[in-house]
C-alpha cells in the first residue's frame, strides 16, 4: 500500500489544484500511467503514477488545491487485498508533507567556525577604539590608553562618555585626570623647566578696554581674557622661539600660533583646546573665536585639530583668586604662559606710589629649546603690549 502524492515539479511549485482524475477507485494502473491532471502556475500538467497496482482510494476530490506532498490517492500493490489496505491506511498516522532530507548525523551542516581574520600583532601603543570614541576622547580629554588597560575589547563611544561622567564625579579616578597625570609626569621627568615672572600694571589696558566697550553693544564687547590672549600672541610673534616644539631632540618653531586656552568644563575637568591661527586675528576676531571656542568646548563640539595642534599654552587661574601661576609645560610644546588674578596692589612709578590693577605674568620654558633670556624677552614684550593696548586692535 502506498500513497500517491502531489508531486513536486519544480522548486518554485508549492501547490497545485487537482483538476481531474483520469482513474477511479478500483481501476488497475501501471507504472508511468497518467492518472490525474493538476493545474499549476504554468498551466495544466499530467501527472503519472510510479507503481503498478490498483487505485484503492481517492483521497482528494477534483478542483481541490493541495500542497506538494499531499496524499491524493492510495495505491494497493498487486495482490494486496482492498479491505486490509484501506484498514492499514486508516491505521497509518497522518503523513506530513515530505521535507528535504535532513543532513546525516556525522555531517553537521554548520559552517566550520572560521578563524577570525586578525591583523598581525598591533603596535603596543595603538589603543583599539572606534573612530567615534577616539574623537570624543579628544574632545573630552579622556585618556584612551587608561580606558583600554585591562580590556581587550575596543573602546566605544559610550565608554568614553561614561569615563567623562565619572571624571566629573570623581576627579581622582577619571581618564582625564590620568591623562593629565601622565603628561605632567612626563613633562616633569623630561623637560628641564626654567621659570620667570613679572608684574604687569593692568590699569591702562583695563581703562582703555572700558572706554572701547562703552561705545559698543553688549554683544560686541571685548573681555579682558581676549585682550590678554591677543597680547600673548603678539608677544609670541615677537619672540617666536617659545611658540613651537621640542621633538626628537630638535627644536622647531611653528609658523602659526595656536595657543591652548585652559577651559574649565561645567562638569569638572579642564581642557586646553587651541585657538587656531590666532596670529591672523585682530582683537575682535580673537574675542569672537574665544567665545566660539568656549561654547563648543562646553557642548563637546571641538574639532580634532583644536585638540591636537596647540603650539603653546596659556593658563589663567586668576578666576580662582590665584595671584601667580607657574605652569608645567605640555610636551612637545616648549612654553606655558601663566596669568594670575588681577589685584589692587601698591605700584611705584618714579617717586610716586599708588594703587594699580596688577597682574603676575609668568613663563615656564623648556630649557632645551630656549634660554631664560628668551623668556625674559617675551615677558618684556607682553608688558609692552599691555601698556600700549591700541597696538592690539
Amino acid at each position: 500500500m502506498s500513497e500517491f502524492k502531489m508531486p513536486s515539479l519544480g522548486a518554485d511549485m508549492e501547490s497545485a489544484v487537482l483538476m481531474e482524475w483520469k482513474v477511479k477507485e478500483g481501476d488497475h494502473v501501471t507504472k508511468g500511467q497518467v492518472i490525474a491532471e493538476v493545474e499549476t502556475s504554468k498551466g495544466v500538467i499530467e501527472i503519472e503514477v510510479f507503481e503498478t497496482g490498483v487505485v484503492e482510494k481517492i483521497l482528494v476530490e477534483e478542483e481541490t488545491e493541495c500542497a506538494v506532498g499531499t496524499p491524493l490517492a492510495l495505491i494497493a500493490s498487486e495482490g494486496e487485498g482492498r479491505e486490509e489496505a484501506v484498514a492499514e491506511a486508516a491505521a497509518e498516522p497522518e503523513k506530513v508533507p515530505p521535507q528535504p532530507e535532513p543532513p546525516s548525523k556525522e555531517e553537521p551542516l554548520k559552517p566550520e567556525p572560521q578563524e577570525e581574520e586578525r591583523p598581525a600583532a598591533e603596535p603596543a601603543e595603538r589603543v583599539k577604539a572606534s573612530p567615534a570614541a577616539r574623537r570624543k576622547a579628544r574632545e573630552l580629554g579622556v585618556d584612551l590608553a587608561a580606558l583600554a588597560a585591562g580590556s581587550d575589547r575596543g573602546i566605544q563611544l559610550d565608554a568614553v562618555e561614561a569615563a567623562a561622567e565619572t571624571a566629573a564625579k570623581a576627579p581622582e579616578a577619571d581618564g582625564m585626570r590620568q591623562a593629565i597625570a601622565r603628561a605632567m609626569s612626563r613633562s616633569n621627568a623630561e623637560i628641564p623647566h626654567y621659570y620667570l615672572s613679572t608684574s604687569v600694571n593692568m590699569t591702562p589696558a583695563l581703562a582703555w578696554l572700558a572706554a572701547l566697550n562703552a561705545k559698543r553693544s553688549i554683544k560686541e564687547r571685548i573681555l579682558p581674557a581676549a585682550l590678554l590672549i591677543r597680547a600673548v600672541v603678539k608677544a609670541l610673534e615677537a619672540v617666536p622661539e617659545l611658540n613651537g616644539f621640542w621633538q626628537e631632540e630638535r627644536h622647531s618653531i611653528s609658523k602659526t600660533v595656536n595657543p591652548g586656552i585652559a577651559i574649565a568644563l561645567r562638569k569638572g575637568g579642564l581642557i586646553t583646546p587651541a585657538l587656531l591661527s590666532a596670529e591672523t586675528m585682530n582683537l575682535d576676531e580673537t574675542m569672537h573665536s574665544l567665545d566660539d571656542l568656549i561654547t563648543r568646548t562646553r557642548s563637546g563640539r571641538l574639532r580634532g585639530s583644536e585638540m591636537t595642534q596647540q603650539t603653546v599654552t596659556i593658563t589663567n587661574l586668576g578666576d580662582l583668586g590665584v595671584e601667580r601661576v607657574y605652569g608645567v609645560i605640555y610636551p612637545p610644546q616648549v612654553a606655558i604662559v601663566g596669568l594670575g588674578r588681577i589685584i589692587d596692589a601698591p605700584w611705584a612709578e618714579g617717586d610716586a606710589l599708588s594703587v594699580r590693577k596688577v597682574m603676575q605674568a609668568t613663563i615656564a620654558g623648556d630649557h632645551r629649546a630656549t634660554d631664560g633670556r628668551t623668556g625674559a624677552l617675551f615677558l618684556e614684550r607682553l608688558d609692552h603690549f599691555l601698556q600700549n593696548p591700541q597696538e592690539l586692535l
Binding site: E117, E122, K128, S130
Partner: protein, 327 residues
Amino acid sequence: MSEKMTYREAVRLGISEAMEKDERVFMMGEDVGRYGGCYAVSMGLQEQFGPQRIIDTPLSESAFTGAGVGAALNGMRPIVEIMTVNFSLLALDQIMNNAATLLHMSGGQFNVPLVIRMATGGGKQLAAQHSHSLEGWFAHIPGLKVLTPATVQDARDMIGLALADPDPVLIFENALLYNAKGELDTAAAPLPIGKALVHREGKDLTILAYGINLFKALEAAETLSKEGIEAEVIDLRSLRPLDDAAIMASLRKTHRVMVVDEGWKSGSISAEIMARINEQAFFELDAPMGRVCSMEVPIPYAKHLEDAVIPQPDKIVAMARRLMEAI
C-alpha cells in the same frame, strides 16, 4: 641585468620568452599576426613563431575565447588577446560561465590554464563604448585571477606568472601605458601573483592604486610631500586575489587610506577594498577612508569632460588633504 624598454616591448618580450620556453603556448586574437596587434604588442611575433602559433582570428570573441578555454582544457597554454576590455563583453559568457566555473563544476577534474590579455582604461578620447575599466567587475568572479600590470617589470613578468598558473588569469593592460618606458630586470625573480608592492614609503597616509593610477598617485605624492604630507603609495598589482596583508600593514603605519580606481564608484573594487579594511582593520583608522574613482557617467568624448571624469593627480591630492584634515 637591467635594460630600459617600453611597456609594449616588455609585454612582447614576456610573450616571446614564454613561447620559446614552452611549445604549448600560443596566442590568438584579432589582428595579432599580420597586422602586428592593435596596439603593436605582437609586432614581429608571427614572423618569429609562424601563423600556427600567432593566430589571427575572425571578429568572434565568444568563439575564440571559448576556444582558448577548450585548448587549455586539452593540454595547451593559450594566450587569448581580446583587443580591448570593451569587446570582452562579447566573451563574457565564455569567461564567466566556462573558464571560471569548470574546475568547480567538475568537482576538481578540469582546470583551465588560460591567459586572457586585454587593453583597458580611458583617457584617449575614445568615448563611451571604448573607454571602460571593467577589471573590478571581473575581480568579482571566483575562479578567475585578475592582474593589472603597471610597470614595465610587471608587463613582462606577469605573462610568465599567468602562464605558470593552472587557472584562468586575466591581464588588464592600460592602453596608455604601452608607450611608457621603464627598467626591466631580467634576472630578478618575479614577485608572485597576489602580492602588492610599495612604490613609495610614507607615514601619513596610504594610497592604494593599480595600473596607470599608480603613476598618478606617485605624482600626487610628490605634490603632497612639498606640503609636508608623506603618502605611502602601493601598487595593488592584482585585484583578485587582493593582498589584504600588505594593505592592512600599511594602514597600521599610516592610519589613513584612500583607493584610486578608474572604475565607476558604485560597486567598484575600491568599495571592496574599503569593506575589507572595515572588516580587518577598523580600529586602525584615524580618518574616514577616501577614494578617487571615475564619475558615474558614460565616458564622454570631449577632452575636458573626459579628464574631469577619470581620476587625476589633483583629485588624489585634494582627497589626501581632506583625509589629513579629518579627525
